[in-house]
Amino acid sequence: MADGQTVQPGLDDLAGEAAVLRVYRQAFAVLAREAEKMILTPQLLEVDEAIFAAFAASGSDGLTEEQVRNACRRFPEATVARRFEVLKAYGAVSKVFERPNERYYRAAFAPYVMLLFLRRIGGRGGQSELHELLSAEHRNVSASAATAEDGQASAGRLTQVFRLIANELSIMSLGADVAQLRENAQLLWGNEALIARAEDVHAVVLRRWPALDRECQWLRAGLAAYRDAIDAAAARLIERAGTTRALGLLPAQEWRAFARTAGTQRLGAVLDSFVFDAPAPWFDPQAMTEAAESGGQPDAARMPPPRPAGDDGAGRDDAAPADHDGTGTAAGRLLGESRSVAVADLLRAAPDWASARRVLAQMTAAHHDPALPYTLTWDEGLDVADPGGPGPAWLTRGQFRRNADGR
């Protein structure tokens, strides 16, 4: 008895599985080119469609195989015959009465629904189906009769859908070429609405069955992955669009239609989120220096690396002209007629701190310039100046002098 009770549901299950398998085989009949092979060209789908159209027009009597061939005579007869055999093999077309020598056939509706579905997916990338799926799931989980199992199943299905899309997109955005990415760009469109609807479903499930938080967490993760994948793919497309100026993200007709039909408000709304500056490049001095340095050196004549001055006399002619930046003149002015002057005097004579600093910089530059006959020497000791004074507060004693030998 106990055995019977366990076997009985098993048999029910088997019957249910057989029914599912039958519909499954019927639905996929339209995809099979020959038995065991999938369809490869859209023309074969058209043949299938024509066959189903013939059956639809035939009424309740059914059709013989010859009548079907006649109705589909715009296609090659061999092709029609092969498709008919395939549909028969999958059970999409079956005899009206199951007996030998029966000539009339009837068609199942599932393959045609599948055909419609395929056409729509082919046309719109399956996204509208996804929208409808989301509406259906939302309806399911919102229904008052829905149980926690329904909610779990819904969340599980949505998680799988979004994981699949996200994986496909992120693989493409990493590896695929831009043309392929652009072909699949419809996966990117309208994704905000998709995500929002999925989040609605998620919210309903989580509110009604808080115990399903683990499934909801997976769904959230799947949605986040989808969002990231969209961002990555869109960034790649936009980056390419920016360099080629190809606005191929949308078909050209859409751009033209938008430009023609949109009002001022809508056209202006495109720029709403943009802060734009006068389209002028910024020149970073560092970049300018690099550009200038990389410019004057053709590959043929390499410049020798810079040598410390005083190594030898060579290269002196190439050096910048003496006093090319006014250092010598400034040093001469600081010294005046005298041969040597105290640094402290010069700095105290400056009207303010900034000019004192400049004087110091000029002296140091003159000291380090090998072409100029000036020397700056420092002594021990530190003078503290009047704290209210304009110049530097502390001064090291030092001498700035013109070299006797003129070098």
Binding site: G242, F276, D277, A278, P279, A280, P281, W282, F283, D284, P285, Q286, A287, M288, T289, A291, A292, E293, S294, G295, G296, Q297, P298, A320, P321, H324, D325, G326, R358
Partner: protein
């Protein structure tokens, strides 16, 4: 100066770059007013944490600039010719003949085919002129620094001073044999032509 005027000036400057204004116009908030021999300019000055160099820090693409290296070299050449004394502020600078500028540009870019050199120079000057970095009076053949150079900060100017010193002055640049022998350059061989010509019509080419 009302809030509306300020907003209008900002909008204009954002869409068209530095604004030429009649003398005596007060500067709106956040903009600096530059006065030079070519007229007065209003230049928007945003904080350093909000201007174009932030784009570079964040790795975002800025406005597309064709031939960025040649254009930067041309700006360096103009800077060398128009900034007489690097200890003084870079604005307003002096006017320079296009001949010396071309010569310095040639020295910076290295030997090139003469036609290619001239083409690159003209293209770079036009780009810089359009962006407000340089004012190029094409008929008169003179070049000045544009109002945008006043936006370089003190740190930038330190780097630019080094750049200035590293570039040969126009007179020495002439000694380089790969000189373009165009009429402008021949004219510029005359030292007087290389001097600033204060009487030049310095129309801001906007």
């Amino acid at each position: 100066m009302t809030a509306g005027d300020t907003a209008l000036a900002w909008a204009r400057a954002r869409s068209a770059g530095p604004l030429p204004v009649p003398a005596g116009t007060p500067a709106p908030a956040g903009m600096i007013k530059l006065t030079g021999p070519g007229g007065s300019w209003l230049v928007p000055q945003v904080p350093e944490a909000a201007d174009a160099r932030v784009l570079a820090e964040m790795g975002l693409p800025g406005p597309l600039l064709e031939q960025p290296n040649d254009t930067a070299r041309m700006l360096a050449a103009v800077l060398r010719c128009c900034w007489e004394d690097p200890l003084t502020p870079v604005w307003p600078g002096v006017s320079a003949g296009s001949g010396p500028v071309l010569a310095v540009f040639g020295a910076v870019t290295g030997p090139r085919d003469e036609a290619a050199h001239r083409r690159a120079a003209v293209a770079a000057l036009r780009r810089l002129d359009q962006a407000g970095w340089v004012r190029w009076d094409e008929p008169a053949g003179t070049v000045r620094l544009g109002p945008r150079v006043a936006l370089w900060g003190s740190g930038d100017l330190t780097t630019l001073r080094q750049l200035w010193r590293s570039i040969q002055p126009p007179e020495r640049a002439h000694a380089i044999p790969a000189l373009p022998q165009d009429p402008d350059a021949a004219e510029a061989a005359d030292p007087d032509a290389a001097e600033a010509r204060p009487g030049d019509p310095l129309e801001p080419a906007q």
